[in-house]
């Protein structure tokens, strides 16, 4: 076997190739969290709002990737440089990735994290927020709100070791895969948005007592949860991207730690939340089990590379146990209608898990580290609240945040999108037998099925219909009628 000698450059190419396979696969997995969120949220709303929920999810991703490519990542870099101690800001360089194919794999890896943060918010404001306002908010979230946090942490800004605060305190903020950068930011933005939009009709009675509004499918909620857990392995373990360092070292222990800690924390999160609700409610609650599993994952997301395995167990335990309590506190004390409990699951769990990093750090406890963790949580939390309030405040004036009450009653699927998610099932829009007349002979008394694109026709059909049906036997209808709606 004679051959040319391998040179170090080859090792770099090999190392980059392995890294590329890994980063791409985990990016795909993180993208796959999008259907996970869609299902988790769809399962927790009533059937009449399902199409709206999945529509918002599709728009989060679709508009989000465009925004993050054109604006988001550049803003993160600029903010990082601005808030670093003594780094010159080069705006041109910050946006150079737009024309650099060599950086696009990493752009995708960044984008799937950004879109996760954006998507979390939709679960909090489901069933009553205007679609237009939501879409506008999600664009700002991906263009500015998330990139700022990315910039001040992973982007080397404010909270990083080289950032203004980080260097002052003498420690860089630790949040490995985004427990706070992604999840708690999404969670607290969601909580704030839910506060701004107000509770769904009927969520609190006249005395302010909470009244549950059960979602239409626990199965979908659990399926979404398990899809998210799958994607989360990409999220956490995938962040340990340097499978093989350029100087040839294999990162097996790091990968193993992240994988194990992620697994244990999700396990204990589900078990702990189940146990808590069994004590509180007398029976193990499947929805809280699912929420606890996710809260365990959120809690360990920032910590997974840093802490011992029993530290991961304790962090997951905290994540799971706090979920029911924080959820009730949001409902009963804050009186905020956070439909999917995103603050309890993504917000508080993310903050708590990240604050606990120094306590279980394999590197030992450090006061400076604890200091920057506290500062980081405060900065991110405050930014999340203020930015959300600001953006939604503007949108409230510009387009309004909330659909009219009649549309909320009817369901957003019909009022915002003109569709039924389940035309054959369900309490709200189940047609009887003739399928709401899409088939069969022409609809009785002049109502006619109108094909496609002409709004004019639709209007006509509506008035034909009501004209005929409205003149009932008593012949008195008409004068006292409110205007007709289609």
């Amino acid at each position: 076997m004679v051959g040319t000698l391998l040179q170090a450059t080859d090792v770099a190419a090999i190392s980059e190739s392995i890294r590329a396979v890994w980063v791409l696969v985990v990016s795909f997995m993180i993208f796959f969290m999008q259907p996970g969120f869609a299902l988790l949220e769809a399962g927790q709303v009533r059937a009449k709002n399902v199409a709206n929920v999945v529509m918002k999810n599709m728009m989060d991703w679709s508009l989000g990737v465009l925004t993050y490519f054109v604006v988001g990542l550049g803003v993160a870099t600029v903010v990082g440089a601005l808030t670093a101690s003594g780094t010159a800001v080069d705006v041109g360089a910050a946006f150079r990735y737009v024309d650099d194919p060599g950086s696009w794999i990493d752009w995708l890896f960044g984008a799937v994290f950004a879109m996760t943060a954006a998507t979390i918010v939709s679960g909090a404001i489901a069933e009553r927020m205007k679609f237009s306002a939501y879409v506008a908010f999600t664009v700002v979230m991906v263009a500015v709100i998330y990139p700022v946090v990315q910039g001040i942490t992973w982007g080397g800004g404010l909270l990083a070791a080289e950032g203004v605060l980080g260097s002052a305190v003498g420690a860089g903020y630790k949040d490995f895969a985004g427990a706070t950068v992604v999840h708690a930011l999404g969670g607290i933005a969601g909580l704030t948005a839910a506060y701004m939009v107000g509770p769904r009709k009927g969520r609190f009675d006249a005395d302010g007592n909470a009244r549950p509004i059960p979602g239409h499918s626990m199965l979908l909620a659990v399926l979404g949860t398990l899809i998210l857990a799958f994607g989360w392995y990409g999220f956490n373990v995938g962040t340990q991207a340097t499978v093989l360092t350029t100087d040839g070292a294999f990162m097996g222990e790091e990968l193993g730690r992240v994988a194990l800690n992620t697994t244990l924390a999700m396990g204990v999160g589900a078990v702990a939340s189940t146990a808590t609700t069994t004590v509180l409610e007398g029976k193990p609650d499947p929805l809280f089990a699912a929420n606890g599993l996710l809260a365990g994952l959120v809690a360990i997301t920032g910590a997974c590379i840093h802490v011992t395995w029993w530290g991961a167990l304790l962090i997951g335990l905290v994540g799971g146990v706090q979920t029911p309590f924080v959820y009730r506190w949001v409902v009963d004390s804050l009186q905020i209608d956070d439909v999917c409990g995103v603050f309890a699951v993504h917000g508080s769990a993310g903050f708590l898990g990240t604050l606990l990093i120094p306590v279980f750090d394999t590197a030992g406890f450090s006061l400076a580290q604890m200091g920057i963790q506290v500062l980081g949580v405060l900065v991110i939390g405050t930014w999340g609240v203020l930015a959300t309030m600001g953006v939604l405040g503007v949108l409230k004036v510009a387009v309004g945040l909330r659909v009219p009450e009649a549309e909320e009653d009817e369901g957003l699927d019909l009022s915002e999108h003109g569709v039924s998610a389940y035309p054959e099932f369900g309490a709200e829009d189940a047609p009887v037998a003739d399928g709401g007349a899409p088939e069969g002979s022409p609809v009785a008394d002049g109502g006619r099925v109108v094909a496609g694109e002409s709004e004019a026709d639709a209007g006509t059909a509506g008035s034909d219909e009501t004209g005929t049906a409205g003149s009932d036997e008593t012949g008195t209808a008409g004068s006292d009628d409110p205007e007709e709606v289609n």
Binding site: V432, A433, D434, A437, E439, G440, S441, P442, V443, A444, D445, G446, T468, A469, D472, E473, T474, T476
Partner: protein, 119 residues
């Protein structure tokens, strides 16, 4: 008009689901467009059907039907029965039946009208 001797009648029919559109049209034509429908399942002369689950058969002897309820005052109940019976007729087993029941009082909720005027 004393179509039903001034009385109010409930015409109630069990028909095939795919007859509903025709029944709706027929009722509108006979001047009794207001109606209420619901999904029901019935057993009559129509043979039971067999379904299977993982190879095991079971008999479903309740067929899907639609129940149509139409309360009338000014329109003779007989006309309504005719209209429904015509529209729902296929001639095959399972077409269903129409019944007329007496109604003693009626009230329109929106207007508060009573008796025949309420219908």
């Amino acid at each position: 008009m004393a179509a039903n001797d001034g009385e109010v009648k409930l015409v109630m029919a069990y028909v095939r689901p795919d007859a509903l559109a025709a029944v709706k049209q027929a009722l509108a034509e006979v001047g009794a467009p207001s109606l209420t429908v619901s999904n029901v399942r019935g057993r009559g002369s129509q043979p039971a059907k067999t379904e299977r689950y993982r190879g095991e058969e079971y008999v479903v002897d309740l067929h899907e039907k639609v129940k149509v309820e139409c309360v009338v005052a000014d329109v003779p109940a007989g006309d309504v029965v005719d209209a429904i019976a015509d529209a729902a007729h296929s001639g095959e087993k399972g077409d269903g039946k129409v019944f007329v029941l007496p109604v003693e009082a009626a009230r329109q909720i929106r207007t508060g009208k009573e008796g025949p005027d309420a219908v």
